[in-house]
């Protein structure tokens, strides 16, 4: 019967198979004195025959007893047989102390895991709705933490020194910026914090638009007008700190995102190869043995089932795609090209409308400033935000309709739609900033004196900060409004009204890509806006915190479970990649504002410099000569080009190494298959 061919092989395996621990344990059992003590398993059947070489008498001492896969009764026998020698007191003490130390570490790790924010909520969402939606919520959690850290950074290095030195706490004082020989026209800046009696709604309006009393607070760039803070003989170079903190928070975001995506990158690389082991991984290692609650077990069963079904579905679709004929392929490709042209047209339409809307809104507010009327209404102030939100809403709908005709696999569909929507949203912000910049900058005589339009924008950084603030607030309001006025009524309608049309519409599914893009869009605004408005990350943290609960409640009560199970592991990595794109795109306007556009002379810490970046060369000039030379050398081309070439060489080396490893793995695999048929050929 089936046993004997197996045993014939086991009698003379190749040498390297002898190294396998499983084989060694088999040997041990065969040679064990009481074969009958292990009635279960096939190993018991072979235990009677003592075959193969018997070097294990010496091997038993080579590995600690606990690593042997034997029951306690057998181990005790081996223990007595092996006659363990007496351990000195010092070794005893070492062993017990290392054991207790390990226990302490384990307890600490366990208690730290309880501190993780929203752990229970996300776990229950995972069980009910699958890992795709769960990845959205853990992404949201990550953004809350990131924004909180950025806020701590900005607050600690920028806002806090300013506040304490302005109010003289801790015996500190500040050095006001001494006006240099600039045109006095440029330095006129009177933010009209509300003077005198005003209607109450003015405060509300100011809260929503960032003008009025908010403009003079520490929320915006204009407040930070000190040159240095002095605290008991320590001089804190404030402009430098402001600039370096900006770089620091960008670097922190970059590093953290890359670190988080590194593990997903490895998994996604391996996954893209050939579905390497994903099924085995899920089936053999899928059950979490720490589950003690029956409900949790039920959740885990369902999520496992979802995952398995997702994988099988994807595989079926891939096979279908591979089976296409030439004629079908041609048809599909031409259809795709046509649809992409439509997509491009839609994008251009969005950009143009945003540009026009921003220009119109700025004109309206400038007219009112010139006539000294503060009657620009909220709707004009919010016009760019509204147009952007409209574009962000309409374009993805069009894309999701179009993509159905393009016939991709579900995972790729999600990715492509996501990419397109990402591009729309981020490019919208870019167009907004571009149109703002074209307003601030001008070529005629108005601007010759200061380099920017000082009449209309005496403090242009605050103006940009205000636009970012408006975008953030409006985004937040839209999310709340959509949940309140679209999801809940729909749910109530579906549950209480039994018309056929309504039931056919049904509940909406949770659109992961839309929601992810919303938050990435918000995060990009936050990154760009933090330079112009240092307290913006705090607002973003609170916003995402509230959004978590809003989305969770909306998900549980108004959404149906996803019809088509979606895989999460690669989506997670993809979200982070898109976030990274947002971050890199945030570098561009920031870089231009810092390095290219002249900083405003009427407000802010960079009054005495041409551009915001100019503070760095100015500081370097104050360093000792040797250090200056080193820094100049690093920044020059003579260093940069060889450095770049060395980095390229290292990269090519690693790519070649990875390729070689892959080939070796393939060869070894083939060898393992061949061993079964012809074991002697390997001796």
């Amino acid at each position: 019967e089936m046993f004997f061919p197996e045993e014939a092989h086991a009698a003379a395996p190749a040498d390297f198979l002898q190294e396998l621990p499983s084989y060694r344990s088999v040997l041990r059992r065969r040679a064990g004195p009481g074969g009958g003590h292990d009635p279960q398993g096939s190993l018991g059947a072979r235990a009677g025959e003592a075959r193969g070489p018997q070097p294990e008498g010496a091997e038993l001492d080579a590995r600690p007893l606990r690593e042997h896969a034997l029951s306690i009764a057998e181990k005790r026998r081996d223990y007595q047989q092996a006659n363990i020698k007496y351990l000195s007191g010092w070794n005893q003490w070492k062993r017990t102390s290392s054991k207790s130390w390990r226990k302490v570490l384990k307890d600490i790790k366990e208690s730290l895991s309880y501190l993780q924010l929203w752990r229970h909520d996300i776990h229950s969402i995972e069980g009910k709705f699958g890992t795709g939606i769960q990845s959205y919520f853990s992404f949201l959690r990550f953004l809350v933490l990131l924004n909180f850290l950025i806020f701590i950074l900005m607050f600690g290095f920028v806002t806090f020194p300013t506040v304490i030195s302005k109010y003289g706490i801790f015996n500190s004082s500040f050095a006001k910026i001494s006006p240099k020989n600039t045109d006095s026209l440029c330095t006129v800046y009177t933010p009209s914090g509300n003077k005198g009696l005003v209607y109450f709604y003015t405060y509300l309006k100011d809260l929503l638009t960032g003008t009025g009393f908010l403009e003079t607070t520490s929320l915006f760039y204009g407040y930070y007008a000190i040159d240095a803070a002095v605290l008991r003989d320590v001089r804190y170079n404030f402009p430098l700190a402001y600039l370096l903190t900006t770089f620091a928070y960008l670097a922190l975001s970059l590093v953290w995102i890359i670190k988080r995506s590194a593990s997903g990158f490895k998994r996604s690389l391996v996954h893209d190869e050939d579905q390497f082991q994903s099924y085995c991984n899920k089936v053999f290692a899928g059950w979490d043995f720490c589950i003690t609650d029956l409900n949790a077990a039920r959740l885990k069963h369902r999520s496992l089932q979802y995952e398995l079904q997702t994988d099988l579905e994807e595989e079926r679709i891939k096979r279908k795609i591979a089976d296409r004929t030439m004629k079908e392929k041609l048809r599909i490709y031409s259809l795709r090209i046509f649809l992409n042209i439509i997509v491009l047209a839609v994008l251009l339409g969005c950009f143009y409308s945003i540009y026009k809307a921003t220009a119109f809104s700025q004109e309206k507010s400038n007219v009112s400033i010139r006539c000294d009327l503060r009657t620009d209404s909220i709707k004009f102030q919010y016009l760019p935000s509204m147009v952007i939100t409209l574009a962000n809403f309409v374009a993805p709908q069009i894309f999701s309709i179009l993509i159905r005709f393009e016939d991709y696999s579900p995972a790729f569909e999600i990715k492509l739609t996501l990419l397109r929507c990402v591009f729309v949203r981020l490019a919208n912000i870019g167009v907004l900033l571009f149109s703002l910049w074209s307003q601030i900058h001008c070529d005629d005589d108005n601007c010759k004196a200061c380099g920017y339009n000082y009449e209309l924008y005496p403090c242009w950084e605050s103006a940009v900060g205000q636009e970012m603030y408006k975008l953030l607030i409006f985004d937040f309001m839209i999310i709340l409004a959509v949940t309140l006025f679209m999801d809940f009524p729909r749910m109530l309608l579906v549950t209480h009204c039994s018309w056929k049309l309504v039931q056919w519409c049904g509940l909406q599914e949770f659109g992961i890509s839309d929601n992810v893009l919303e938050i990435i869009y918000g995060q990009t605004i936050c990154w760009i806006g933090t330079f112009f408005s240092p307290l913006l990350p705090a607002i973003a943290t609170i916003k995402y915190f509230i959004i978590f609960y809003v989305k969770k409640i909306s998900l549980i009560h108004t959404r149906k479970p996803p019809g088509r199970p979606i895989r999460a592991s690669s989506s997670n990595f993809f979200f982070l990649v898109v976030l990274l794109i947002g971050l890199v795109l945030a570098f561009i306007p920031l870089g231009i504002s810092i390095a290219h556009i002249p900083s405003s002379k009427a407000c802010g810490p960079f009054r005495n410099f041409n551009t915001s970046w100019a503070v760095v060369p100015h500081t370097i000039l104050g360093f000792p000569t040797g250090l200056q030379m080193v820094l100049n050398g690093i920044a020059s081309e003579a260093f940069a080009v060889p450095f770049f070439m060395v980095v390229c060489l290292i990269m090519f080396y690693f790519i070649a190494l990875a390729g070689a490893h892959k080939r070796v793995v393939e060869q070894l695999r083939e060898q393992l298959v061949m061993v079964r048929f012809d074991p002697l050929s390997f001796l």
Partner: protein
């Protein structure tokens, strides 16, 4: 651990717990095993009872805890996992074993299990990935090889004390 074991015994037998055997029904009331789909297999694998009633003595109990603890080596864990997954105890994981395994994972009940076609496809994929010598079953070496590549295996197999 001794305390937990003696709690499982009825009151009158507690003083001599070291030599007693706890019946299977009591073992299954442990919180870790209660929700576990492999509870019956675990009891069977760790029990050294000669009557075959899957009762566990204190030593069996200790065995079970030590294999599931974090300090057990991956070799031991995979060895015992193989025995647990081997439903018909023939020393290899055949298609029937795999089918039962998947059904345990997705939970009992008609509406949650995979369809026949899906099950076939899944088992085919599993065998493709792990059956190195292509004999249609997974033996211990192949299982240990596959599991050693799996990052989740070592992480998830912990029973809490």
């Amino acid at each position: 651990a001794y305390k937990r074991f003696s709690e499982l015994l009825p009151k009158e037998q507690r003083d001599n717990a070291c030599s007693r055997r706890v019946p299977k029904s009591r073992i299954l009331t442990l919180p870790e095993l209660r929700a576990n789909p492999f509870q019956h297999r675990i009891c069977r694998v760790f029990s050294t009872s000669e009557e075959g009633d899957d009762s566990m003595s204190f030593e069996d109990f200790l065995d079970m805890l030590s294999v599931f603890s974090d300090s057990a080596t991956p070799d031991i864990k995979s060895h015992y996992a193989f025995r647990i997954f081997d439903f018909d105890e023939d020393g290899t994981l055949s298609r029937k074993d795999l089918e039962k395994l998947v059904n345990c994972l997705t939970g009992q009940g008609e509406e949650v299990s995979l369809s026949n076609a899906e099950m076939e496809q899944l088992i085919q994929n599993i065998l493709e990935e792990s059956d190195i010598d292509k004999d249609g079953t997974i033996n211990l070496s192949e299982f240990q090889h596959v599991v050693s590549r799996s990052p989740d295996f070592v992480r998830y197999r912990g029973l809490q004390q």
